[in-house]
Symmetry: C2
Subunit: 203 residues, 2 copies
């Protein structure tokens, strides 16, 4: 029992650290973020971070892993929530945008894979590819179902991913539109595009 409790306690500590690290990473970017700063934010000494994590980049890896875990879970939920790929897409976009811009987890972490140790990077990239492939699958399923249409699903997926990830750079809680509006807007745009008519032409 002690074992289990201890592990839970440790896990809890790790999550607390994750939250602080994630926040600082988000605000300053990985490189600009300092270990001392992370520690200070939670009112502890630097050493504590090293008791629970191997180092700064392990911290980043943990952030990314957590974030990707949530994203993958969002995909699962989406597929449970509806059979309509279009609806699934909307669900995922909401989850993705929310995941990157709010809550505990790793926002920029998802993006800065470069500054990861080779071992971690491989693992993270595997997860990431899995997520992106899942998203692409949703689109492809929509196409084969006939409710979506798309010349190049891989490209469309990446286009959407870019649009969603980019929100980190400009969206702010204080601004007009909340996260759900943002997500719905992006989704609407991804679905319907800018053109007035499908095949070129006037009003």
């Amino acid at each position: 029992m002690v074992q289990v409790l201890d592990k839970e306690r440790v896990q809890a500590r790790r999550m607390e650290i994750l939250a602080a690290a994630s926040a600082v990473f988000r605000e300053r970017g990985f490189h600009a973020a300092g270990m001392r700063e992370i520690a200070q934010r939670m009112g502890v000494a630097v050493g504590k971070l090293y008791y629970y994590f191997a180092g700064k980049e392990a911290l980043l890896a943990f952030c990314q892993e957590d974030c990707l875990g949530r994203l993958l879970q969002v995909v699962e939920e989406a597929e449970k929530a509806s059979d309509d790929p279009a609806r699934q897409l909307a669900y995922i976009v909401r989850g993705h945008v929310r995941c990157l811009n709010s809550e505990v987890p790793g926002s920029l972490a998802h993006l800065e894979v470069e500054s990861l140790a080779a071992a971690d990077r491989a693992r993270i990239l595997r997860l990431r590819r899995r997520y992106e492939r899942a998203l692409q699958k949703v689109i492809e399923r929509g196409v084969s179902t006939g409710c979506l249409r798309c010349g190049d699903p891989a490209l469309a997926t990446r286009s959407l991913l870019g649009a969603m990830n980019w929100t980190v750079k400009w969206w702010q809680p204080e601004g007009r539109m909340n996260l759900d509006d943002l997500a719905d807007g992006l989704c609407e745009h991804a679905l319907h595009g800018l053109a007035v008519s499908r095949r070129k032409g006037g009003t």
Copy 2:
């Protein structure tokens, strides 16, 4: 005349350095890039960089300024090339994607504004805002012309920007599709979206 020639020579040197710096920044990211590495790439000593630039972040600022200059020029060209906003958009997307992924200039530079000195950052952000506003204007013009349709032009602009900027993270020259195909694909997706019909519904 000596004056002029000297200035030209200096300018040429600065551009050479820009090219090298830009390449290294693109490959490694700003923080991971080392001054020594940049110098080494052009076969000169570190000191030379400091003869022509105040420091690393001045180098980055110069990269970004150059890049944004090109982008703004693309917008001008687009507006000269056609009166049709949809065509203008296509032109800009091509220019943007090409600008970030090929040629000399600053790819990631365009994105990493955080690591800039306050003074530079302000100037760069002003340019960036001008560019993004110009892009948005194109979309808005399309809407008022009637050849485009869009619930939230600002959001659509940012969505498109995200999709374009994100290409830096995944597009590779060796892969299938060249830059123009990439740009056209993105543009197609931005215009027509994924939906089969405009207002929800089946085949």
